[in-house]
């Protein structure tokens, strides 16, 4: 089967670089799946979950926005931040979420409210991706 080369980079480091079969990314207008030999595409990403499939194995990452480019058979994701599921500190994400929620409750200024909402979204994504990993570690009950 054809594969494509995927590279995920953040300002701090190169998070992922490998040949993959399928990529599912959170586009600004909703989830999009990229298969090999996709037409050239340029899109902004919203905070969410990236799923990478390679040889039947799935890898998950949490991203907090960025850009995705498809050019030739090469996919580039320039993420603001990207964390593979196994690196997510669930405890920290949960705390960040609680803190942000408390901030929303306390009805702060508009600007802070925006930041808090974004923080909640980020934390929620992290938690979701981290849970994926846990459910994967347990043997699936069906199928």
């Amino acid at each position: 089967m054809a594969t494509m080369y995927l590279e995920i980079t953040t300002a701090e480091r190169r998070t992922f670089a490998d040949e993959v079969d399928v990529l599912v990314a959170p586009g600004l207008d909703g989830e999009l799946s990229i298969l090999p030999n996709h037409a050239p595409l340029m899109t902004a990403l919203q905070p969410g979950e990236i799923t990478i499939r390679k040889d039947g194995e799935e890898t998950y990452l949490a991203v907090t926005g960025g850009f995705l480019e498809v050019m030739g058979n090469q996919v580039t994701i320039l993420a603001d931040a990207a964390e593979p599921s196994e690196e997510i500190d669930e405890e920290r994400a949960r705390k960040a979420m609680e803190q942000a929620q408390a901030l929303i409750e306390s009805r702060v200024s508009d600007q802070e409210l925006g930041q808090a909402l974004a923080a909640v979204q980020r934390a929620a994504t992290r938690l979701r991706v981290a849970r994926r990993r846990r459910s994967r570690e347990r043997p699936p009950s069906q199928g």
Binding site: A11, G27, L28, P40, L41, M42, T43, E69, T76
Partner: protein, 285 residues
């Protein structure tokens, strides 16, 4: 011949200088490691975003959207974002850098406005009567993107308003601990990549071209400036460490030489005193 006491005083003073430069070398070394790590880690992103943007600039333009940051205009005014260190004692780093920028400016036939980042560049440009539009200092050793985004916002705004038609960025590129390279590179308008015909098909933009470009292009400028600052800091700390190591070595060399001289002076004093004694004893007898 200086007196023994004078020599000893000089030895002490040079030893103290050596201690200071040694300490500065250690500090620079630890800062250098961190700065080198962050510049190397940031390079893939910087290279990737350049590549993506260059692809983008090479695509056939959409008729309905005009992106000022991609637009090639007739050049009437040039802006240079000059990134330099705040502090000296880093060898020839800032004179090399300033010389390179000065040379670049003298080659231009249109007026050049300058945004200085760092005290060394600002002072140099003001001293030579250049048109400094804005100066930023005190970024520190570990800036974050938010620290430099003021600069990039200013660059983007000036360019979009048409105050400048071309923007260059100058900094010291970090090659290795001993080698740093002064660079002046065009930042805006974005230089299109050379694409093969098969690649020049136009992107599918999602949700649409203007939404993507309006967030991607400023982000690009922001990351480029941030990365240039990281390159400079890594270069600065490396240059400082090397300069301070050389200073420490010269200090210990001087101490060795002066100690030799001191011993010689001491011996000569003793010899002449002995001669006096003997002569005096002979006279008494």
């Amino acid at each position: 011949m200086p007196s023994l006491r004078q020599i000893k005083r000089r030895i002490r003073s040079i030893e103290n200088t050596g201690k200071v430069t040694k300490a500065m070398e250690m500090i620079a070394a630890s800062k250098m490691r961190r700065a080198q790590a962050s510049v190397l880690a940031g390079r893939p992103y910087s290279e990737k975003i350049q590549e993506v943007i260059a692809h983008l600039a090479a695509q056939p333009a959409e008729q309905d959207v005009v992106q000022p940051l991609l637009e090639q205009r007739e050049v009437r005014r040039i802006q240079v974002v000059q990134i330099t260190p705040d502090r000296g004692l880093c060898g020839g780093l800032h004179s090399n850098l300033n010389r390179r920028v000065a040379q670049f400016i003298s080659q231009q036939s249109v007026p050049v406005g300058i945004i200085s980042v760092g005290r060394k560049g600002r002072d140099f440009m003001i001293r030579y009567g250049q048109d400094v539009k804005a100066a930023f200092t005190g970024l520190g050793d570990r800036p974050v993107v938010a620290d430099t985004s003021v600069i990039s916002r200013m660059v983007v705004d000036d360019y979009s308003e048409g105050s400048f038609d071309q923007v260059f960025i100058s900094y010291m590129e970090f090659v290795s601990t001993t080698v740093q390279q002064p660079v002046v590179r065009q930042l805006l308008p974005i230089v299109p990549a050379e694409l093969q015909a098969t690649q020049r098909v136009g992107y599918i933009y999602e949700p649409d071209a203007s939404t993507v470009l309006e967030s991607l292009l400023p982000r690009f400028v922001e990351m480029e400036i941030y990365h240039a600052v990281l390159e400079l800091i890594a270069s600065e700390q490396s240059a400082r460490m090397v300069a301070m190591r050389n200073a420490t070595e010269s200090a210990s060399e001087m101490v060795t030489d002066l100690t030799l001289l001191a011993n010689k002076v001491r011996q000569e004093t003793i010899t002449s005193e002995l001669l006096d004694l003997i002569a005096g004893a002979a006279a008494v007898r």
